[in-house]
């Protein structure tokens, strides 16, 4: 009995240590964002100071709010479109019998594992020729296409959405589009939330696509803004840290609150059933 206690205490200590290590950089970042530059470079402060307002001023003057809005609307558009496209495709694959059905299921698994990098040079030329460079569309497009999402919805639809419901709805005179919108989407809501969060995260964090396509400061997204701001205010540690805090903390909160959905999404590929 006593032995079990000791091992529990020991694992508790290790877990606390790991958690502190996981959170500590965020803590330091927040503390530094409330300090002056002078304070940051002379001494290690562990408690907040009173420079938050000044740092915030410097960050907002650089147009950071704009980057925020850009990132937000790009991520939301990509996630909404991505969820709708993937849900429709998953619905078709799981709930209809048609010629290419088997082929589609296998194709999805294969294309899930093709790395994005291989298309990027061609994508660059394609977007340029379509006149879309220096718009946000390349970012929305590259984030919204999610073979993984199709896979996720196919699994969900197979297990969770009974075909009998569709049949009785048809007898009641519903057409297929109505079944998709009014029944399938609400029914697979949890898959939708999961995929929404995953695409949102991908888009919000994406650095390479905006780096390649955007060269107007007013169109920067957060990662690009942080990067550019870093070069512009190399020595302004406090302001840079405030910008990082602003960029990360809200997302961390969203994901902490929705962690169940995200965890399900992250793990469903790895663990069957």
């Amino acid at each position: 009995m006593k032995k079990i206690k000791i091992s529990t205490i020991l694992s508790m200590i290790i877990l606390i240590a790991a958690t502190i290590m996981a959170i500590f950089p965020f803590y330091m970042m927040t503390i530094m964002s409330t300090r002056t530059n002078q304070q940051i470079i002379t001494k290690l402060y562990m408690l907040p100071g009173n420079q938050l307002i000044n740092n915030a001023k410097m960050v907002f003057e650089s147009g950071f709010l704009m980057f925020y809005l850009n990132s937000f609307y790009i991520a939301v558009s990509a996630a909404v479109i991505g969820v709708l496209f993937s849900a429709a495709a998953g619905f078709a694959i799981a709930k209809y019998t048609f010629k290419a059905n088997r082929l589609m299921q296998n194709m999805i698994l294969i294309i899930m594992s093709i790395p994005f990098g291989v298309s990027i040079v061609g994508f660059l030329i394609e977007m340029k020729n379509l006149g879309l460079s220096n718009t946000h569309l390349p970012m929305i497009i590259s984030a919204m296409i999610s073979p993984y999402g199709v896979f996720l919805f196919t699994q969900f639809a197979k297990d969770g959405f009974p075909t009998e419901i569709m049949e009785s709805a048809r007898i009641d005179g519903c057409n297929e589009m109505t079944i998709f919108y009014k029944m399938f989407l609400p029914f697979t809501r949890s898959a939708a939330v999961t995929l929404f969060l995953m695409i949102f995260m991908y888009s919000w964090n994406n650095f390479l696509t905006p780096l390649v396509f955007i060269n107007k400061q007013s169109m920067y997204t957060i990662p690009l803004g942080i990067f550019a701001l870093g070069n512009q205010y190399r020595q302004e540690y406090g302001a840079r840290m405030f910008a990082l805090t602003l960029a990360t903390i809200p997302i961390l909160i969203i994901f902490a609150v929705n962690s169940k959905s995200l965890i399900r999404g992250l793990t469903s590929g790895a663990v069957k059933g």
Binding site: S7, T8, M12, L15, A18, T19, A22, P25, F26, M28, M29, I41, L44, L84, F85, A88, A89, A92, Y96, F98, M104, S113, I114, P115, G117, V118, S119, V121, G122, F123, L124, I125, E126, I141, I145, P147, V150, E176, W204, N205, F207, L208, V212, P223, I226, F227, G230, N231, R234, M241, A247, I251, F255, S259, L262, I263, L266, T267, A270, V271
Partner: protein, 314 residues
């Protein structure tokens, strides 16, 4: 009777178009924005295709140059592999260990530990790189201060200009910090799908926790490990954001940065092809990387399958 059969088949007929309608948005966008650019990249890789010049067909010259005379490319490949060979095993060990500690229903604050440890994973890599370069800073970095305090260093060092093994360690630690929580989550999910009876039987037999972990948990999680290794290989070979941000944080000339261990394949691709407008060469590079990924994935698959087979025989 006959009539009802007719309506049924006409009903089926009216249904026949629907799966295609539902598939169309995804398929069409996938083909136009992934398949097409991918094939177009392949086409471009056979040209000297520089921005501002007329593309000139040169056959497989780009590939020949890449494989035979571009020593920086091979350097970037080896940098990426070194990174991968450390990061993946470390993430597996740390993630598995944390998951084992957390896999205990009665543990207090279980949910909190779980969420706190996966937060680094959802954080923007760009932000992570900047925070870490400050934590590792020569004068004000916590890590340097700590290492000086416990006597490992006499004074703080500049990690980014230090000998290359220290630069590698910095990058590896940073990525480990970011990914360990993700591995932990995946392993936790794997553990909860192992039947409780297996553990019960082992405990009845008097097996210790350590023995249960190595003899039961780890082998039963083989498939999960397999998934993690494959996806991480694909991801790590394409890593760019974190090393690039560390590299650019230095503000050094590009010739100097080519020598850096932070120069991964995708960083090299961006710095030396995309930024310089050498698109044809860049396309050849990404295709070569894709080939390397493919070969390596199959290689990993082969090893894992072989070892898995041996385990079953034992």
């Amino acid at each position: 009777m006959k009539q009802s059969k007719n309506t049924a088949s006409s009903f089926d007929k009216s249904l026949r178009k629907w799966p295609y309608i539902f598939l169309a948005p995804f398929i069409l966008s996938y083909i136009s924005f992934f398949v097409f650019p991918t094939l177009y990249s392949l086409y471009m890789s056979f040209f000297r295709w520089n921005v501002g010049e007329k593309p000139k067909f040169i056959g497989i010259d780009n590939y020949i140059k890449l494989f035979t005379s571009d020593s920086y490319f091979w350097k970037s490949v080896s940098n990426t592999f070194i990174l991968m060979l450390f990061v993946i095993p470390l993430c597996i060990i740390v993630g598995l260990f944390l998951a084992e500690l957390l896999f205990n229903e009665s543990l207090k604050f279980r949910g909190f530990f779980q969420i706190a440890n996966y937060l680094p994973y959802v954080t923007t890599p760009v932000a992570v790189a900047i925070i870490f370069s400050l934590l590792f800073d020569q004068k004000i970095g916590v890590i340097n201060l700590f290492l000086v305090k416990i006597g490992i260093f006499e004074q703080g060092i500049n990690w980014l200009t230090a000998p290359s093994y220290l630069q590698r360690i910095m990058l590896i630690l940073m990525i480990l910090w970011q990914w360990a929580g993700y591995y932990m989550l995946i392993y936790l999910a794997g553990m909860s799908s192992i039947s409780a009876d297996v553990y019960e039987a082992a405990r009845v037999d008097g097996a210790s926790r350590i023995k249960i972990f190595f003899k039961i948990t780890v082998p039963l999680l083989n498939n999960v490990t397999f998934f993690l290794v494959i996806t991480s290989v694909i991801y790590t070979l394409q890593i760019m954001d974190q090393p690039y941000l560390l590299l650019r944080g230095l503000g050094q000339g590009s010739q100097q940065s080519l020598e850096k261990p932070l120069m991964t394949v995708m960083v090299y691709f961006y710095e030396n092809c995309l930024r310089q407008g050498r698109l044809g060469y860049g396309a050849a590079l990404t295709y070569s990387l894709f080939m390397i990924i493919l070969v390596f994935t199959f290689f990993t698959l082969f090893i894992i399958r072989k070892r898995g087979g041996n385990n079953e025989e034992n």
